[in-house]
């Protein structure tokens, strides 16, 4: 059982002052093995904060990030899964799942983690799974008028990944989960 935190689009300090207190109290150091960050933190303080949660931190560049040295995209292997990260402002049309599927094929990954739209999505297609953890701070988005703070925790166990999405709705944290199983050739959803 490997826990991977997928989080991004915090937009601190431009659009939000901080992570919601309820999220902060849930995210404790030592519980998570990897952090995947889609980008738009935007400042070093947020980077440092993530580092305290887990030293294995993977970040891709968002268009407002202070540190321009983050890569445009990144791939890594965790257990039986190949994961890819890309912020998503580079993929046009924004939020278009077919275009994102192309990126997934290009990076040759089972799971593509992407952001930019501030909308949580977990989408399974022929080539794999696309996960958008949304905005952890519920930051302003031109995409949608209704942004709830959210992040994703993936539990990777063998050929199976359980995706837990945590959303802050009206002051309460709601959790939902989706199961994905990978066969030898391609993943399928339950």
């Amino acid at each position: 059982m490997v826990l991977v935190l997928a989080i991004g689009d915090l937009h601190i300090p431009h659009r939000a002052p901080d992570l919601p207190p309820k999220f902060k109290s849930m995210l404790v150091p030592g519980k998570i093995q990897h952090i995947i960050c889609t980008g738009n933190l935007c400042i070093k303080e947020v980077h440092d904060y993530f580092k305290t949660l887990c030293p294995d931190l993977h970040i891709t560049r968002g268009e407002y990030d202070e540190d321009s040295r983050y890569p445009e995209n990144k791939t890594l292997t965790i257990g039986q899964f190949k994961l890819g990260i890309c912020h998503g402002h580079q993929v046009i049309p924004w939020g278009d799942l077919d275009s994102l599927a192309m990126v997934q094929r290009q990076l040759d990954v089972d799971i593509l983690v992407t952001g930019h739209t501030h909308q949580f999505k977990a989408y399974k297609h022929e080539g794999g799974v696309v996960i958008n953890p949304g905005s952890a701070t519920g930051a302003y988005s031109s995409f949608t008028y209704d942004v709830n703070p959210s992040f994703v925790l993936m539990d990777i166990d063998g050929l199976r990944v359980v995706v837990y999405v945590y959303e802050l709705i009206d002051g309460e944290v709601k959790v939902d989960k989706i199961d994905f199983k990978k066969t030898a050739t391609a993943p399928s959803a339950h």
Partner: protein, 770 residues
């Protein structure tokens, strides 16, 4: 009750009888010079004093009987011709008495003779005795014991001019002894207050008042010590007496008298420490229980303390600033504990501090600064809600007296308090006050040089201000607009170094307001036209324009595009167009870095793709520009990608969206040509293949539009492209691109998958022969 007194009389009678009985035998021993017997019977006699059954008044009677007998014993001890034992040995001998109380009475008695004999310095014997008496902790018994000690030692203190004065013994030692005895008696007396169950409280209080005299006698003794001149009294005795563990209510009730004495004390007396400690004690007392608070109000503690401090500070003109401010800190702590709701008190203390600080040309003492910071932090910590602190009129005035560095430190403390408590400041007035308070962070103040600041610190400061802006909110749009205007007013003068940090927060704040407004569209009928989306867009333009002074073209471009999307949401075409114009102009004129250009173009294309507010003309103009920029990027690969991204500008998937199949294809073909050119260039320059991946990407785009129903894209075109790619890959077998291989493989898998879907999709893909 009647029974109680009757019993007491009985016990007293028994006790007296006991004493008389033992005394009889003691006298016999004395007469026959029998020391051993004398000690034995005197010890037994003194054991009667071990009773706990008597009230102080009754115990006193018993004590007086014993006292008389001890006088006789003392005479006997003095005359060593009668018993033949040296006083030194005698001192040791009496310590063999079985029980502690008799032992100590005897010891004190012998001790008195010891001192008289001068065989040991008075100071040492006195010290020994006063400490040994600690062995008796029962209040009544202990008090009487120490009273005995005080009494017999009176004439043996090493006072000035006394026979006991010497090099080793001084008046100071005498004073020390008396004060120590006094302290210990005090403690016993205080302890009585807390003993026993509540119902006998009244009785206990009565007893305590009976014993007050005993304790107070020590002070009388002190005053009799000739060597204690006014000087010593003021410098040493009084402060130590004031420090005593008196019951707090004692202090409280006599506050006026106590405070009246303070200004008259000499500057050498650390009166501010005395006052500070007094206030701290009273603060703790107030915190101990809510029942005592009315008492504080009844004695008007605050105003008395406040006046006293004022007088002290006035009287001691040479008191350093840190001293005065420490007093104010104690007073503030006091009022925050005792009457936290009295904001006028808090403001008063701050005001007094301002007055003091005004008289100092320039406050340079860092300790004093620290105290001022403590003064300002106290209300923040007490009232977690910063808004309360903002109502204190003297608060900003105090801050004005801080040096620049400390002022900024305090501003950060304020911001951190807001962030920690998740406070929301919701009116324009409060925001104005707040921004006045933090002005040290917002703009250059006299004497401050922004360039000298440590970069990390500066960033932290400005990021804090940026975060703070999001804590200012009111869901009433009019008020929110006022808030934004105030923030803008303050931040616009921040200078080029600060603007990049604060402008973004302000812009998004305004964009949120816009949404608020949209949400309330129906309700604004009848309002004066001060609040329209257009007004907000004007504001936004002005705010973003300020970035040109930095200059920050990349950020400005992003913000203009955000505004364009917002205008799209409000369905205001010309405003959206204007924002695009601004963005495009910035791109053309200010963004020269290749990497920055690539990102900028994708943002422009991505935004434009989502616009549905534009009419054909405007859309065409902008699209034409976008594709033009794309084709002129420096690197071929970047060109290619940007151009095929532009294909989406001609195809929008919703109902009314544009679906111009031809122009889509034109874009894709153009992208293909660029990819080819890139391939050739790579062959020439490096002798090996270029980015085959580009072709696969374009292939994917072909498939995308094919699937979406673009009739211009045929299955044969797709097939042709696949063949092309295969050819390219094979011709470059010396340098296999595994990434591109995998990409092609998964693309082909996708086609296969779609074929197998069946239905309309399956049919469509059927035509692609692999």
């Amino acid at each position: 009750m009647l029974n109680g007194t009757e019993d007491e009389e009985k016990w007293l009678a028994e006790g007296i009888a006991g004493i008389q009985h033992k005394a009889f035998y003691m006298h016999r021993a004395l007469d026959s010079n029998n020391l051993r017997e004398a000690l034995k019977y005197s010890a037994q006699m003194l054991s009667e004093l071990r009773t706990s059954k008597l009230s102080p008044r009754k115990y006193y009677e018993l004590y007086m009987r014993a006292f008389d007998e001890l006088k006789r014993l003392e005479l006997f001890f003095k005359d060593d011709s009668k018993h033949g034992v040296s006083v030194v040995d005698l001192y040791e001998l009496v310590q063999h008495a079985g029980n502690i109380l008799p032992r100590l009475y005897l010891l004190c008695t012998v001790g008195s003779i010891y001192i008289k004999s001068k065989e040991a310095p008075a100071k040492e014997v006195l010290k020994d005795l006063v400490e040994m008496c600690r062995g008796v902790q029962h209040p009544i018994r202990g008090l009487f014991l120490r009273s005995y000690l005080a009494q017999i030692s009176r004439d043996k203190l090493p006072d000035i001019g006394s026979e006991y004065e010497g090099d080793a013994d001084t008046v100071m030692d005498a004073v020390d002894f008396v004060l120590q005895n006094f302290t210990e008696m005090n403690k016993l007396w205080v302890r009585m207050q807390h003993q026993g169950p509540g119902r006998v409280r009244e009785k206990r209080e009565k007893e305590r008042s009976e014993l007050q005299d005993l304790v107070g006698k020590n002070l009388h003794v002190l005053s009799q010590i000739e060597g204690v001149d006014l000087e010593m009294y003021k410098e040493t005795v009084l402060p130590r007496v004031l420090e005593q563990v008196f019951p707090d209510e004692y202090h409280l009730q006599t506050l006026e008298t106590l405070l009246g004495a303070c200004p008259q004390l000499q500057p050498t007396v650390d009166v501010k420490t005395v006052l500070s400690r007094l206030m701290d004690r009273l603060s703790n007392y107030a915190a101990s229980s809510a029942d005592v608070l009315p008492e504080f109000l009844q004695v008007e503690a605050f105003s008395k303390l406040s006046n006293a401090i004022g007088k002290v500070i006035e009287a001691q003109v040479d008191m350093p600033a840190v001293g005065a401010i420490t007093l104010y800190v104690s007073l503030l702590t006091f009022t925050l504990r005792v009457h936290p709701d009295r904001l006028d008190h808090v403001d008063q203390v701050l005001g007094a501090c301002v007055k003091k600080l005004s008289n100092i040309p320039k406050l340079e003492d860092s300790r004093a600064m620290k105290q001022v910071v403590a003064l300002l932090s106290a209300p923040l910590e007490k009232y977690n809600d910063i808004v309360t602190a903002l109502t204190l009129s003297n608060y900003p005035r105090v801050m004005d007296h801080l040096d620049i560095g400390t002022n900024k430190l305090m501003a950060m403390v304020i911001i951190q308090s807001i962030m920690k408590n998740n406070s929301c400041i919701s009116t324009a007035d409060k925001v104005e006050v707040l921004f006045e308070l933090i002005k040290g962070l917002i703009k250059d103040t006299d004497g401050a040089d922004v360039d000298e600041l440590d970069e990390e610190d500066f960033k932290e400061e400005q990021n804090s201000v940026a975060r703070l802006i999001h804590m200012l909110y009111n869901d009433e749009p009019e008020e929110m607009l006022r808030i934004i205007c105030i923030v803008r007013k303050h931040t616009m003068v921040g200078g080029p170094k600060r603007l990049p940090f604060t402008v973004s927060s302000l812009v998004f704040s305004a964009l949120r307001l816009l949404r608020q407004l949209q949400g309330q569209e129906g309700d604004i009928v009848g309002e004066e036209a001060s609040m329209t989306p257009n007004k907000i867009f004007q504001l936004l333009t002005q705010i973003i324009e300020s970035l040109s002074a930095v200059p920050s073209p990349e950020l400005a471009l992003r913000l203009y595009l955000q505004c364009a999307e917002a205008a799209n949401g409000c369905d205001i075409e010309h405003v959206a167009y204007e924002f695009f114009t601004q963005a495009f102009v910035l791109y053309e004129e200010e963004i020269a870095d290749s990497k920055a250009q690539v990102t900028a173009i994708h943002l422009m294309i991505g935004t434009l793709q989502r616009m549905n507010v534009f009419g054909v003309e405007n859309r065409d103009t902008l699209t034409h520009k976008a594709t033009g920029y794309s084709a002129r990027l420096l690197k071929k690969a970047d060109q290619c990608r940007a151009v095929y991204a532009c294909s989406h500008l001609f195809w929008v998937n919703d109902q009314d969206g544009i679906k111009d199949g031809e122009r889509v294809l034109l874009c894709l073909k153009r992208a293909l040509r660029i990819a080819n050119a890139a391939q050739q260039m790579a062959n020439v320059a490096r002798g090996s293949g270029g980015p085959v991946s580009l072709f696969v990407e374009i292939l994917n785009k072909y498939i995308y539009f094919f699937e979406k129903g673009n009739k211009q894209i045929t299955s044969s075109a797709i097939q042709g492209l696949i063949e092309l790619i295969n050819t390219e890959m094979q011709s470059d077998s010396t340098n296999p691109d595994s990434v591109a291989d995998a990409f092609l493989a998964s693309t082909l898998r996708y086609i296969q998958f779609q074929k197998q879907k069946g239905g309309v999709v399956g049919e469509k893909f059927e035509s692609i022969k692999l």
